[in-house]
């Protein structure tokens, strides 16, 4: 599918860069134009995402099969002819989506649009802010559509820099600490990922279409086929030490993004300091890049190691769920509480993934989407009250339900969605993740233990709700205005999505099932017998 001769995925990915350039060219003092440009660009991107949604064929599997990838764009990007040192380097501009990346593409477009609405009142250097936000948008979208590992890595790093500036410049009092921590942590992770990527590159060869000469490749799909591994290479064979090491490297790289315990401490700091819209993006999209990476890269490329390490992954999932919930309960800062709740909710994604069966995997990917919408709502909600009161202390409020009834109404939807109330989308993904994990013998005990998280989540969510919204109104905030139209326009679409997907999840699940079943098949059969095209 092409628009003006350019593929729709390229449009989706690079439209924000165009927007960024446009924003930078707007002369100083035209803040309104900057804002509307950014909104227009992300709005256009969202429309494109809807177009993709309408044209997406849910019956195609993708994952390791280029023929059933959709909206594929493939072009030679870097092709350095053979030299004595590294051989021939061929890097492709290779984009495409399947049922695994599709929900993330929709989510990214949606969250970025919402984030621009939430950024309406940025007090300083709005132009730079919007430019960075749009660059970030490109980076995130690129990660989800790239099928060449090098390209994937480039987008991964592109995303890092604007995030660093967005927290470091427009953040709260400890923004520099938080930004550097975020940056170094992610950098540490991406270095490990880079190592694994290089190891993969030197292990995998595909025949050149013209000469038949075997050349190294960054093609992710090629990396999923064991037949492409050079028998003498580092990662050849199955279940070798080097493969375990490479998997571990990738895993840590992705784990930091998720974040998985014990690599999670950058998250509360980053969230607390980041401006509202950036928290929304951070929780809404960025965290999913970690779990997406595990599913797109680690699982299909290292099925031998992934299946062998199911129990450790399950244990980490359990720790994330329960530890995150317990830490959340102890927080006094509203935003920190939501940040830890993210740790807990991402644990559910991990649990579903560890199951490696249909219910678990669908639950996991659906939970990635739902966590994106629900936590985005939660951060927007914190933002609303912070903008008015300039404090996030949970004990400083009380009785907001009386002063701000509309706000309380929309908050109730978000809070109950977060605690997994049936009828709202979060419940279905949680239930499926648990249902999936429970079916795996090795994970049964872990799953039962993890259900503790369900109770704890209800406890801290309701306790927070009680402290902030119920009780007698605090006279200090007596004149606080209720939520305004702009804030509602960011929250209401999300609330509608949460509700609609809670009642009829097939609107999204149907688009994932074929691909995820195929992915499970690859992981289960260790990548054997898969048709592979270079």
């Amino acid at each position: 599918m092409e628009i003006f001769g350019i593929g729709v995925l390229s449009w989706l990915t690079f439209l924000p860069i165009v927007g960024m350039l446009a924003v930078l060219m707007i002369p100083k003092g035209n803040e309104a134009i900057v804002k509307w440009t950014a909104l227009g660009i992300t709005g256009l991107q969202l429309i494109l995402a809807v177009v993709v949604y309408l044209n997406f064929d849910p019956s195609l599997s993708g994952i390791n099969n280029v023929d059933s990838m959709q909206f594929v764009e493939k072009a030679k990007w870097i092709d350095v002819s053979a030299n004595s040192w590294v051989g021939r380097i061929q890097i492709e501009y290779f984009l495409g989506i399947d049922g695994l990346s599709f929900p993330m593409v929709i989510l990214t477009a949606l969250i970025c649009f919402i984030a621009v609405i939430a950024s309406w009142n940025i007090p300083k250097a709005l132009k730079g802010y919007m430019a960075m936000l749009l660059l970030l948008d490109t980076g995130m979208m690129g990660v989800f559509v790239a099928l060449d590992f090098f390209l994937f890595y480039v987008f991964w790093e592109v995303m890092l820099l604007p995030m660093y500036f967005l927290i470091g410049i427009w953040g709260g009092p400890r923004r520099e600490y938080a930004a550097i921590k975020f940056f170094l942590y992610t950098l540490f992770g991406s270095v490990l990922m880079l190592l694994a990527m290089i190891a993969l590159y030197f292990s995998v060869t595909v025949p050149d279409a013209v000469t038949g000469e075997r050349i190294h490749t960054f093609n992710m799909l090629a990396m999923m086929d064991p037949a492409n591994y050079d028998p003498n290479s580092l990662l050849a064979g199955m279940g070798t030490t080097f493969r375990s090491l490479a998997y571990l490297g990738l895993f840590i790289g992705f784990a930091i993004k998720v974040p998985i315990f014990p690599f999670h401490t950058w998250l509360p700091d980053a969230h607390v300091e980041a401006p509202t819209a950036i928290s929304v993006i951070l929780a809404g999209v960025l965290l999913k890049m970690g779990t997406y990476g595990l599913l797109r890269v680690s699982f299909p490329m290292f099925p031998d190691i992934a299946t062998a390490w199911v129990v450790p992954l399950g244990i980490l999932a359990f720790i994330n769920i329960v530890y995150g919930a317990l830490c959340a309960m102890a927080q006094k800062d509203f935003k920190k509480l939501i940040a830890y709740s993210s740790v807990s909710h991402m644990g559910i994604v991990l649990l579903g993934m560890a199951a490696m069966n249909t219910q678990g995997m669908m639950g996991a990917v659906f939970q990635m989407f739902n966590h994106g919408t629900i936590t985005a709502m939660l951060f927007l909600i914190v933002g609303v009250v912070y903008d008015r009161a300039h404090t996030r202390d949970l004990d400083a409020f009380g009785g907001l339900a009386i002063t701000m009834p509309k706000y309380t109404g929309i908050m109730t939807v978000a809070f109950f969605a977060a605690l997994g109330l049936p009828g709202l989308s979060g419940f279905i993904s949680e239930a499926f993740s648990f249902l999936g994990a429970f079916q795996v013998d090795e994970l049964r005990v872990i799953t039962i233990a993890s259900t503790l998280g369900i109770v704890l989540t209800a406890a801290y969510m309701l306790w927070t709700l009680q402290r902030v919204f119920l009780g007698k109104p605090n006279e200090k905030w007596a004149g606080m205005p209720d939520i305004n139209g702009r804030e509602l326009s960011a929250l209401v679409p999300l609330a509608i999505i949460v509700l609609v997907l809670g009642i009829y999840p097939s609107l999204l699940l149907n688009y994932m099932s074929t691909s995820l079943n195929h992915l499970i098949d690859i992981v289960r059969t260790g990548g054997q017998g898969m048709a592979m095209l270079p």
């Binding site: 250097a125 520099e176 880079l194 249909t358 499970i520």
Partner: protein, 755 residues
């Protein structure tokens, strides 16, 4: 009426209350009287429709189960299994049809009652909206044919209960009670969820009939009967939470913080009975062991709650514990195998207990009014010690309240007599068949206590003299919107309603015909006594049970009159004599204190410990590593700036040597098979090599003092016009250095992998 029409009608019944919610929550401010009559009217329409459904079901499709399923989620072609979907659907069988009418009656009457009871409330429209969402979710529990929708509705009634208990959320006690209700219920729900997971892992469906059919065909969870028992007990955990069974009963008495009509609807008649309904739904898959557990949980609950109810002085608290006790009764009956009796008692109890609560609401309403009139803001309007003599002023309330009390005490001519007698006979039969004699003993004991404390309530509230004549003058009977529902429930407490015959001593009638115990599907070796054996034992136990229950109820009532009406026995003196026991009961067996000291305090302590651990240990390691790295790099930089070439040369040499050693190790020692040792070894090696290269690179780059990178940044800054802020505000140099270091580390590995 065709089955499809009937099911469509059932769906309409389900959705109409939801419509109420949607309309009222958004538009109640714009509707006349905030939409109270609209909501009430819709509910009466629902009532009519549900009666039509019941009549048709019993008339035309008496022995059929009408159901329709539809695929809700398509899992696609599941590897190793084949195509799989998750089916949802609705089902109308006899118990669903009866339960639907029960819910509709109580809900519509409570709507009507609330109009005057809640008049002038701050969130009047919101209140009716929540009643709507509750009725919807409750009906969802009733007409589902699968565990998934059951669980969904199960949690949604929990939500509406939470919202309504916390209706007056300005009061801390109300919001506390709401939280407690939701969280305690969640604990039970998690048990139920695990039970559902066991079933799903085995049967790959959540619909009742296919699961029961599969068990009947010999397929059991994990191939073990113990798992089947576990599944049964875990599913029952949901009922333990929702129906306030021991040990999760603590939330229900606190739930009385909600408006009284809500207590009648949710916390007496319908939602709390959902647990009992769940047990009837899943009765067929319960093993004998599971049923014994269920019977004992019920009996213990019934006993504990009854002993507490004897000592309480708050009119709603007495009724609350009475509810807990009666729910325990029903659960006990089902556990004992008296399926029909358990469900029968659920239905009769719903009528008279809703009536009792509405009656207490009427009393509280009048007391409030009188206290307000007397400008008294200290006296507790709900304390029965402040009442007495209300009979003269509130005749309708009194007479209806008396009828309900007779029913709950099991006096002939009432519906309660029939259902209670059936239940008691069931426990006797169970005791004879299995030897668990504790069950019938507790059952009869509780019957006596119930009669005693209920008549204590009636005597102290309505009979005797009022404590304050001045206040008494201002007491008035409630308006018609309140007395009509009271009368309605009183009529529904007569035996004939539930039998359709004129024999007050026999439960045989349309109800017992419609509700027949289903055949057990569990393997014969672990099944409870079959329908015929149990029926036989039940038949024998009947006469004994009836005589015993009459004697015991009579004794209880007599004792209440002797103590509280004729005052031949001094209750206070007895309480003084057994003070420890009295205090123990008055404080509700100290369950709240126990849970607070263990579960609540324990969790809070744990959260603080973990938060400390997270901030100090985990983050401490992270920051410590950063500081250490910074220290090392700054150290090197200083060395460079001081011009100590010896030290630099040394570090370069050391670094190169280490990398070479690492390379040798890697190529020489690489084992073919992965082992933990090897992985740790390589991990350490990798970290060592990376660290070294970081270290080395700094020596090279540090000297440039970031001139090149800073220059680049400044160039971009002047172009973009905002990077200036960046370089001023952030120590970009440090970041760039790390970036460069990382790059060098990667390059070292690059070389390694290439070889």
């Amino acid at each position: 009426m065709s089955p499809d029409t009937l099911l469509q009608l059932a769906v309409a019944i389900l959705l109409l209350p939801l419509l109420n919610f949607v309309v009222l929550v958004f538009f109640s401010k714009r509707l006349p009287r905030q939409g109270d009559w609209l909501a009430t009217g819709v509910l009466f329409v629902v009532l009519l429709m549900s009666i039509v459904v019941l009549a048709t079901k019993l008339g035309t499709y008496h022995d059929e189960t009408l159901q329709r399923s539809f695929p809700w989620v398509d899992f696609g072609n599941v590897p190793g299994f084949g195509p799989l979907t998750l089916q949802l659907g609705i089902m109308v069988d006899n118990i669903a049809a009866i339960m639907m009418v029960v819910v509709a009656i109580v809900s519509s009457f409570v709507h009507l009652f609330s109009i005057d009871y809640m008049r002038g409330d701050v969130r009047y429209g919101r209140y009716f909206a929540y009643l709507g969402v509750f009725t919807f979710s409750m009906l969802g529990i009733v007409i589902t044919n699968n565990f998934f929708m059951m669980y969904v509705s199960w949690e949604l009634v929990g939500l509406s209960s939470y919202l309504l208990i916390g209706h007056w959320f300005e009061k801390k006690s109300a919001s506390d009670a709401a939280n407690k209700a939701f969280i305690v219920n969640r604990i039970g729900d998690v048990g139920m969820f695990i039970g559902i997971m066991i079933l799903y892992a085995t049967f790959h469906t959540l619909s009742f009939d296919p699961i029961f059919a599969a068990i009947g065909a010999g397929q059991i969870p994990m191939g073990s009967e113990a798992w089947l028992t576990a599944a049964g007990i875990l599913v029952f955990c949901g009922a333990v939470g929702k129906s306030a069974q021991f040990p999760l009963h603590v939330w229900l008495p606190d739930a009385m913080e909600g408006p009284t009509p809500v207590s009648a609807l949710i916390h007496a008649a319908t939602m709390v009975a959902a647990g009992v309904y769940l047990v009837t739904r899943t009765f067929a898959m319960m093993t004998a062991d599971a049923l014994v557990v269920i019977a004992h949980v019920g009996a213990i609950t019934a006993f504990i709650a009854a002993t507490i109810a004897v000592t309480q002085n708050d009119i709603k608290k007495v009724l609350a514990y009475s509810t807990v006790s009666q729910l325990g009764y029903m659960v006990m009956g089902l556990g004992a195998g008296a399926y029909t009796a358990g469900f029968f008692h659920l239905s009769t109890h719903a009528m008279f207990k809703a009536g009792l609560f509405l009656g207490s609401g009427s009393v509280i309403h009048a007391m409030h009014h009188a206290l307000h009139h007397a400008n008294d803001h200290h006296t507790d309007a709900q304390d029965i010690r402040n009442m007495g003599g209300l009979r003269a002023k509130m005749p309708v309330t009194f007479w209806t309240f008396l009828i309900y009390t007779l029913a709950i005490s099991g006096v002939p001519l009432t519906s309660g007599f029939l259902s209670k007698d059936e239940l008691l006979a069931g426990t006797l039969a169970f005791g004879e068949l299995t030897g668990h004699m504790l069950i019938p003993i507790l059952a009869f004991g509780v019957a006596g206590m119930t009669a005693f404390y209920m008549f204590r309530l009636v005597i102290l509230t309505f009979l005797g003299e009022h404590k304050d004549p001045h206040r008494f003058d201002a007491v008035h009977e409630s308006p018609w919107t309140m007395t009509v529902p009271l009368t309605g429930f009183a009529i529904l407490s007569f035996f004939a309603v539930f039998t359709g015959t004129f024999n007050p001593f026999s439960a045989e009638g349309w109800f017992t015909d419609a509700v027949q115990r289903p055949a057990s599907v569990v393997p014969a070796a672990v099944a409870a006594a079959g329908n015929e054996v149990f029926g036989e034992a039940l038949h024998h136990a009947h006469g004994t049970a009836m005589i015993l229950s009459l004697i015991i109820a009579g004794t209880g009532i007599l004792l209440a009159f002797v103590t509280y009406y004729w005052r031949k026995i001094n209750a206070d003196a007895i309480a003084e004599k057994v003070k420890p026991l009295y205090t123990f009961l008055l404080n509700k067996w100290y369950f709240d204190e126990l849970y607070d000291a263990t579960a609540v305090k324990g969790t809070l302590a744990l959260t603080r410990a973990y938060a400390w651990f997270d901030a100090t240990v985990i983050d401490g390691i992270v920051n410590g590593t950063a500081r250490w790295t910074l220290g090392v790099t700054t150290g090197t930089r200083n060395t460079w700036e001081e011009g100590n070439f010896g030290a630099i040369a040394y570090s370069i040499a050391a670094g190169m040597a280490s990398v070479y050693a690492g390379w040798l190790l890697a190529s020489g020692l690489a084992p073919a098979e992965p082992s933990l040792g090897a992985i740790i070894q390589y991990g350490l090696l990798g970290i060592g090599a990376a660290g070294l290269s970081f270290f080395l690179f700094y020596v090279g780059v540090g000297g440039f003092d970031n001139k090149i990178v800073d220059g680049l940044v400044n160039l971009v800054a002047s172009l973009a016009g905002f990077f200036g802020i960046v370089s001023r505000r952030l120590q970009t140099g440090r970041i760039q250095t790390y970036l460069a270091l990382a790059l060098l580390g990667v390059m070292v590995f690059f070389l390694w992998f290439r070889g």
